[in-house]
């Protein structure tokens, strides 16, 4: 078949489909309303849940590295046994002392070159006591290079007072710790790393990440001072990294393990529960969308099924006048597609408006943006679903026996 008859047949099919829809105005309006409500619901909950989830993930990842690269745990080494000997072992796991990643400079250089890591920051961290007057608190010392570290966690953005300044006897501490020890910027703080390793530092800044545990325990120093206090001269205990695609962190962690021989710990492992919650939420949303979609599709199918029966005689006469089966089939498929497309277009706009209303009048915990692809995607899916829903009634119409259809009353 050449293109011309195809085009002219398409013109005819569009004409008849549109006229049939306009002719059944009430039915068309009612089903359009149904499709509109359905797709508005789908667009709205998709936008809200996506917004909520990315907000939760953003907040979680705002205070931690995507992948932490750590030294392997220490384990008991056994002397090799002579062949043929049976040995019964009772093993107690070894205490894991604080220790450095060997040749960490090479590892950092390697990770710096990794195309999927967007930031790499070597860190030395370990426990210490913080003392101020009679108050004392147990803290975690974090020694790092601020330029690198801020690309992992942008502390400067969360400063309540002072500056993010470390080195030359300066430290930056969390708001809870500052309150517990009664400290302000400019005050002195004594840090005790144990075994007589002590230092007095100036509080240069106070941050608040919004996570109590961190705000009460983190004390930021430069690498050198922390290394001294933790008795790890020249060492780092962990390398923090950020990845380009957060949900690929697990897979990337495995790759880094193979690459470096070290342990890679992704945020997904450390936040298993959160991820579980997000997953079941996504599944629920998916179910809601599926069922709303199915009921909309059934709505389209039933409206068209009624229309096919109502138009039995007209279909018969069209066939008698020489309308091929395929033309009748496409007339009804087109109606399904058009209903889906139009209804979801309006529904998408309504859903978008609902999101704006939610942003203005909702709880205001976070801003939801409708992803630009969401509404076109919804329209495409609805259009396909409409065509699919129309398939059964359309096939029925196309297979009417014209001699019988014409006499139908």
């Amino acid at each position: 078949m050449s293109i011309r008859p195809l085009l002219s047949s398409a013109w005819t099919e569009w004409l008849i489909a549109l006229r049939f829809l306009l002719d059944n105005r009430m039915q068309t309006l009612l089903i359009l309303f149904g499709i509109t409500v359905g797709s508005a619901v789908i667009v709205f909950i998709t936008a809200i849940i996506t917004g909520l989830q990315s907000n939760v993930v953003d907040r979680t990842l705002g205070t931690q590295a995507h992948i932490r690269v750590l030294p392997l745990d220490e384990f008991n080494r056994l002397a090799p046994l002579p062949a043929g000997t049976l040995s019964l072992l009772r093993e107690s796991p070894r205490a894991q002392r604080l220790r450095s990643i060997s040749n960490w400079q090479d590892v950092v250089t390697l990770l710096d070159q990794h195309p999927r890591l967007t930031a790499v920051s070597p860190v030395v961290s370990g426990p210490a006591l913080a003392l101020s007057g009679v108050a004392r608190a147990s803290v975690a010392l974090i020694g790092m290079d601020p330029l690198r570290y801020e690309r992992i966690i942008p502390i400067s953005e969360d400063l309540l007072a002072g500056r993010f300044r470390v080195g030359a006897g300066h430290a930056v501490i969390g708001s809870e710790l500052a309150r517990d020890l009664g400290l302000n910027t400019g005050d002195k703080l004594r840090l005790d790393g144990g075994e007589g390793r002590e230092a007095v530092v100036d509080v240069a800044g106070i941050f608040e990440l919004g996570v109590r545990e961190l705000d009460a325990r983190y004390v930021y120093l430069d690498l050198k001072q922390a290394q001294t206090l933790l008795a790890l001269p020249g060492g780092v205990t962990v390398i923090d990294t950020r990845v380009d695609e957060i949900f690929a962190a697990d897979e990337l962690a495995r790759r880094i393990e193979r690459l470096t021989g070290l342990r890679g710990e992704s945020w997904m492992e450390t936040n298993g529960q959160l991820l579980n919650a997000l997953r079941s939420q996504s599944m629920t949303t998916q179910m809601i969308r599926l069922f709303v979609g199915i009921s909309v599709a059934f709505g389209i199918a039933s409206v068209l099924a009624v229309s096919v029966v109502q138009r039995t005689r007209e279909i018969g006469i069209l066939r008698a006048m020489g309308s091929p089966r395929g033309q009748i089939l496409r007339v009804f498929l087109l109606q399904g597609g058009l209903l889906g497309l139009l209804g979801s277009g309006i529904g998408g706009a309504v859903g978008w408006l609902l999101v704006q209303v939610f942003n203005i009048f909702g709880p205001g915990l976070f801003q939801v943006t409708v992803e630009p692809g969401l509404i076109p995607a919804a329209m495409l899916i609805a259009c396909l679903a409409g065509v699919l829903a129309a398939a059964v009634p359309a096939r029925r119409a196309a297979h009417y026996d014209p001699a019988v259809a014409i006499r139908y009353v």
Binding site: P5, L7, S8, S9, A10, W11, T12, L15, I16, R19, F20, L22, D23, R313, E314, G316, I317, L318, R319, A320, M321, G322, S323, P324, R325, Q327, D401, P402, A403, I406, R407
Partner: protein, 236 residues
């Protein structure tokens, strides 16, 4: 043979063949229609007139015999071919006019051409208008079928059947639903277009007066042709 529009050779039709509901409706029908003939098909109810018309209209397939439309055998043609032949060679008028309510009167007349080749050309629209004029309805071109009377609807259906200039027009009780005066005027129209367009017309009717006004009458009884010849004019 070029004067022959239709030839039926030994046509038979049995519904539900091979089942308990088997119904032998037509048997051994032999028939020729020439170009420009106006023929009435009469017979008692249930004699198989509509069945025969459906076979001739390629809406149904005979169970025996062969049907030649413009010299072409049709029995073993597939649905697509038969559909195209209906569009090109046949015009249909039914008792219940069957206009399509979603389209205007003019668009209904154009429908066979729209089905054939999409958007109608200016000449096609011109032709449709002149046919509407022929049936006396040019003023109603933009009305919907539901807005005009039954007789007017039947005239629109006739104009529609003529728009492709078919060599054969089939009408199944086209006046069955009309009062006698309107029926007579619709029949007059058939006679006129028969003369004017030279298309062969086969019309099923129950009305002996209308049948008598056709030059040729075929009578069907129990699925067989019992008489075929010049109509006996009704006494006035």
């Amino acid at each position: 043979m070029s004067d022959e529009v239709l030839r039926l050779e030994g046509i038979g039709k049995t519904f539900n063949q091979g089942t308990a509901l088997e119904a032998r409706v037509l048997q051994d029908i032999n028939l020729r229609l020439g170009r420009g003939e106006l023929t009435a098909l009469i017979g008692p109810s249930g004699s198989g007139k509509s069945t025969l018309l459906n076979l001739i209209g390629l809406l149904d397939v005979p169970t025996a015999g062969e049907l030649y439309l413009q010299g072409r055998p049709t029995r073993s043609s597939d649905d697509a071919t038969r559909t195209r032949m209906r569009n090109e060679s046949l015009g249909f008028v039914f008792q219940f006019h069957h206009l399509i309510s979603a389209f205007s009167v003019l668009e209904n007349v154009l429908m066979p051409l729209i089905i054939r080749s999409g958007r109608p050309s200016a000449e096609a629209v011109e032709l449709a208008r002149s046919l509407l004029q022929e049936v006396g309805l040019e003023r109603l071109a933009d009305k919907r079928p539901t807005e005009i009377s039954g007789g007017q609807q039947q005239r629109v259906a006739i104009a529609r059947a003529l728009v492709t200039r078919p060599p054969l027009l089939l009408a199944d009780e086209p006046t069955g639903n009309l009062d006698s005066r309107t029926a007579a005027s619709v029949f007059d129209l058939f006679r006129r277009i028969n003369e004017q367009f030279g298309c062969s017309i086969l019309v099923v009717t129950h009305d002996p007066r209308l049948a008598a006004s056709c030059p040729r009458t075929i009578e069907l009884v129990d699925g067989r042709i019992v008489s075929d010849g010049a109509s006996i004019p009704m006494p006035p």
